[in-house]
């Protein structure tokens, strides 16, 4: 017997193309939908909080979805409360989302805040769901440099995906045109934080200078792929929580992270 498919829900946003800035399906959110489609097939639910008129939403439908639900909101409204309201009674067992939006605030905080409010576990950088048994999922979490960590998570949980998740399938015109966008009117909440904040262009984060002294191609390859070796640091094992916290606190002070 086929096991009952997982009840998967994906949260999607409107993205922006990196060179043209034109609206599109967001890269990571599309990967979340891809993962959702692989897990639940066409049963996957997809949810967007924002403007249902936005044509770019159809690019998600083009991946083979028959419908997409929109919690209708004006630009700049806070998506968090409406998503929370929707999710808490949705029966979803797994909620997938990109790690960070390409437009708007793009703080990457949404998965954390949502998981906190729902009281669900959050898996960051989900790469694959291996199996689900007795209400517990065995998943692979992506770590830097292609490493994977196997985790057991109880359902329901929330997971964010990044570029380690499988590439989103092509969006096709036919299903994109046919799919339905369902609109739910929801109570609009202004995002105080956003409306009081002012935007300024991001400055690229300065890169740590890497002096490569390699002479041969093989050495250069090694240098390029080597882990950033800090040199310092220590491994604490079998220490009490108090001692651990103190050590971390001390390090943060030394590095000037807190003053």
């Amino acid at each position: 017997m086929q096991p009952k498919p997982l009840n998967v829900l994906c949260l999607v946003s409107i993205g922006a193309h990196p060179t043209s800035g034109r609206a599109r399906r967001a890269e990571q959110d599309a990967r979340a939908v891809e993962l959702g489609l692989r897990l639940a097939g066409e049963q996957v639910q997809v949810l967007h909080a924002g403007n249902a008129e936005e044509e770019a939403l159809r690019a998600y439908l083009g991946m083979g979805l028959s419908e997409l639900s929109v919690l209708q909101q004006p630009d700049g409204a806070d998506a968090l409360p409406v998503l929370f309201d929707y999710l808490k009674d949705s029966g979803a067992q797994l909620v997938l989302t990109g790690s960070q939006a390409e437009t708007g605030e793009g703080s990457g905080m949404l998965p954390y805040l949502l998981a906190e409010q729902l009281g669900w576990p959050l898996v960051v950088g989900l790469a694959e769901v291996e199996k689900v048994e007795n209400g517990v999922a065995q998943v692979l979490q992506a770590l830097p440099r292609g490493q994977r960590r196997r985790l057991q998570v109880r359902l329901p949980f929330l997971a964010s995906v990044d570029n380690a998740a499988p590439v989103a399938r092509q969006s096709a015109f036919g299903p994109a045109r046919r799919g339905t966008l369902w609109t739910d009117e929801v109570h609009v909440l202004d995002d105080d934080l956003l409306s009081n904040a002012s935007f300024q262009p991001a400055r690229p984060r300065p890169k740590r200078l890497k002096v490569i002294k390699a002479k041969t191609g093989a050495e250069r390859m090694k240098a390029a792929t080597a882990k950033a070796a800090g040199g310092g640091g220590q491994v604490l094992k079998d220490v009490s929580a108090q001692e651990g916290a103190e050590a971390i606190f001390k390090l943060l002070l030394e590095e000037g992270v807190i003053r």
Binding site: H17, T19, S20, R22, S171, A172, G174
Partner: protein, 645 residues
């Protein structure tokens, strides 16, 4: 005895032929509706056959003469045989005429048989090996049976034994040639071919015309199918066209993808469509298979999806849309239309454009160029050239359509060279700059009609804001699309390839040119300039004006071999045994030329991708710009005078 047997045989065969014709006709009509001129087409058919079709067949003198004798003899013999033997009009003159027709057919059939002694690999075997025997049998039997009518032999000559032999011969002959025609035998090509000529989907091609632009999909109707999924999604006259194939394999011999060992053979593809039309498997196909795919493992039916049943997707994606097959096909079958129709379904409905396809299409949607470059950088190549923007000037003589080559460093050299030429000739020209978008060529050929139409409509809207006399482009793909494919969406322009324009400038004495000094030169005809638009001479004229005597390749002009860069083939990148540009480079090297002149950014990129040592590759614009001389004073003064006036 023959006098009773022959009419029975003849009319029985004719009756079966009519029944078969009806069946076949309804098979075609399972396809979608198409606008055809029913009566006009039928009336025009004999001329189309004798002029247009023969024009293609006549490239091969042997088979042209053979076909005239055999087919002409047969048609005449068949009509006379029905009159003489069917209706029993034993008139001596008719008898002699019938003898002549049979003799003519017999001679033709001998040459057909000779060709079949050692048939080239492009020809299909199987039932086609039987055909010359049937032709001989038909003509010989009727010849002998007619001898008494013509008064050459006594009426009862040979007795019942000969009568029996003749009856068997006639029965064989009429089975193949009368009802075999409509029941799927090799002679089907005559029946379907004639009607295909009458109701061809590109009637403009007849009488020396040219019709190469892809047909637009109706995107406004949400119920219209997006491309072709099952055989019945083709228009009915496309299905009819497939049925007209004579399996001569001329298309196979010309196809660059087939030669490169990619899994495509245009002849097999057309035969697979016939299998789909009637239902069944491809096991009976008696020609060369798709390279790497054994025959007999695929099957389909009129209402079953074609891809991954009858034909594999990689077959469709191997095509470079070079149109060599269409150019060679004596039955004037439209392979490229069929391939793009099926690609449309894969892209628009299935989202299954292979390899880099999806990425390129996404880029086109988001940035209006296939590379995903920042659209704001479209004019960076000309930062120091002081080009006039049409948005500033509003009108000009020549709109220089730059194309996506603007983002490619190699092509920028060509573009800059062409600008030098334009400036040297004092042409009143301007560019669209950031207002220009990809022409939609690649999107359309990858099957993404929606993105094509979106790009095209926005380009047409932009062009509509300004006034200019002509558009000139260095890119044959943009040139073709602007010239032949924007019309259906409301954009009609006079568009020129830069080689045509330079040839005009030279003819008008607007350019002061030196002589080329870079060694011997050959010229590679771009498919989208040559076969698609019939421009073979202008580039050669330009080269001649530079003092170059072109060392022609064996495959040049309308037989030019594709560079492998068209139809999105480098994007879908279906593996084969060798690469198409490598094969083209072998053609080039055979001429011994040190340099190959090209007229297309795609060709440049593909040929320059071939490993050295190899001849250098230069665009015609570069060759011209290299030998530009300062305008002599007299000309300059004259121009000033003109301007004053």
């Amino acid at each position: 005895m023959l006098n009773t047997l022959l009419p029975i045989l003849l009319f029985a065969a004719l009756l079966l032929a009519v029944i078969g014709a009806g069946k076949r006709f309804f098979m075609w009509r399972r396809g979608r509706a198409a606008q055809v001129d029913w009566l006009g087409g039928l009336l025009a058919m004999p001329k189309r056959y004798m002029v247009d079709l023969h024009h293609v067949v006549a490239r091969d003198k042997y088979i042209a003469n053979t076909h005239v004798a055999t087919a002409g003899g047969f048609v005449l013999a068949a009509v006379l045989a029905i009159v003489v033997h069917g209706f029993g009009m034993h008139n001596r003159i008719l008898g002699v005429a019938l003898l002549g027709a049979c003799a003519l057919m017999f001679v033709g059939a001998l040459f057909v048989a000779k060709r079949r002694l050692k048939p080239p690999s492009r020809l299909s075997k199987g039932p086609w090996m039987r055909l010359p025997k049937s032709l001989l049998m038909f003509s010989a039997s009727f010849f002998i049976a007619t001898l008494p009518v013509a008064g050459i032999l006594p009426a009862d000559f040979g007795g019942w034994i000969l009568a029996l032999v003749l009856a068997i011969g006639v029965a064989w002959g009429v089975s193949e040639l009368f009802f075999g025609m409509t029941w799927g035998g090799p002679m089907k090509h005559a029946f379907a071919g004639a009607l295909h000529l009458a109701w061809h989907r590109r009637a403009e091609r007849f009488g020396g015309g040219r019709s190469t632009g892809l047909k637009a999909l109706d995107l406004s109707n949400p119920n219209a199918p997006l491309g072709v999924e099952k055989p019945t999604d083709f228009t009915w006259n496309q299905l009819l066209g497939f049925d007209a194939c004579v399996q001569c394999g001329k298309c196979e011999a010309a196809c660059p993808a087939f030669a490169a060992g990619q899994p495509l053979n245009p002849k097999k593809l057309i035969q697979d469509m016939v299998v789909g039309l009637a239902g069944g498997t491809d096991a009976k196909f008696a020609g060369s298979p798709y390279p790497g795919k054994p025959v007999g493992e695929h099957s389909g039916g009129p209402h079953q999806p074609i891809v991954n049943g009858l034909v594999d997707a990689d077959t469709l994606w191997s095509c470079t849309t070079c149109r060599a097959c269409v150019e060679e096909c004596p039955m004037m079958i439209e392979h490229v239309d069929a391939i793009v129709d099926m690609r449309r379904h894969l892209t628009l409905e299935k989202g299954a454009t292979p390899n880099k396809g999806a990425e390129v299409l996404d880029n086109l949607i988001a940035t209006d160029n296939p590379g995903g470059f920042n659209p704001g950088g479209r004019l960076n190549w000309a930062a120091d050239l002081n080009l006039t923007l049409l948005s500033d000037k509003k009108n000009c003589d020549v709109l220089f359509w730059v194309g996506d080559g603007a983002f490619d460093m190699r092509n920028q050299r060509t573009l800059r060279a062409f600008v030098n030429v334009l400036k040297a000739a004092n042409v009143d020209f301007a560019v669209l700059g950031l207002e220009e978008r990809d022409s939609g060529d690649v999107a359309r050929r990858l099957g993404d009609e929606a993105t094509f139409q979106s790009l095209a409509k926005r380009n047409i809207a932009t062009l509509g804001k300004y006034s200019f006399k002509r558009i000139v482009s260095c890119d044959p793909h943009s040139f073709h699309v602007l010239k032949n494919e924007y019309g259906a969406l409301g954009g009609n322009y006079e568009v020129l390839h830069h080689s045509t324009f330079i040839a005009e400038l030279i003819a008008a004495g607007k350019l002061n040119l030196g002589q080329h000094k870079g060694g011997s030169v050959t010229y590679h005809d771009p498919c989208y300039l040559g076969r698609y638009n019939g421009e073979y001479e202008a580039p050669r004229d330009v080269l001649r004006a530079l003092g170059i005597e072109v060392k022609e390749m064996q495959r040049s002009g309308f037989r030019s071999r594709c560079c492998g860069g068209g139809g999105g083939a480098p994007i879908t990148d279906i593996p084969g045994k060798q690469r198409i540009p490598d094969m083209r480079m072998v053609d080039i090297k055979e001429t011994g030329a040190e340099l190959v002149a090209v007229g297309c950014p795609q060709c440049t990129a593909m040929l320059e991708g071939v490993v050295e040592p190899r001849p250098q590759i230069k665009d015609i614009a570069e060759l011209v710009a290299d030998v530009l001389l300062e305008a002599p004073a007299a000309v300059a003064v004259k121009r000033v005078v003109e301007e004053v006036q």
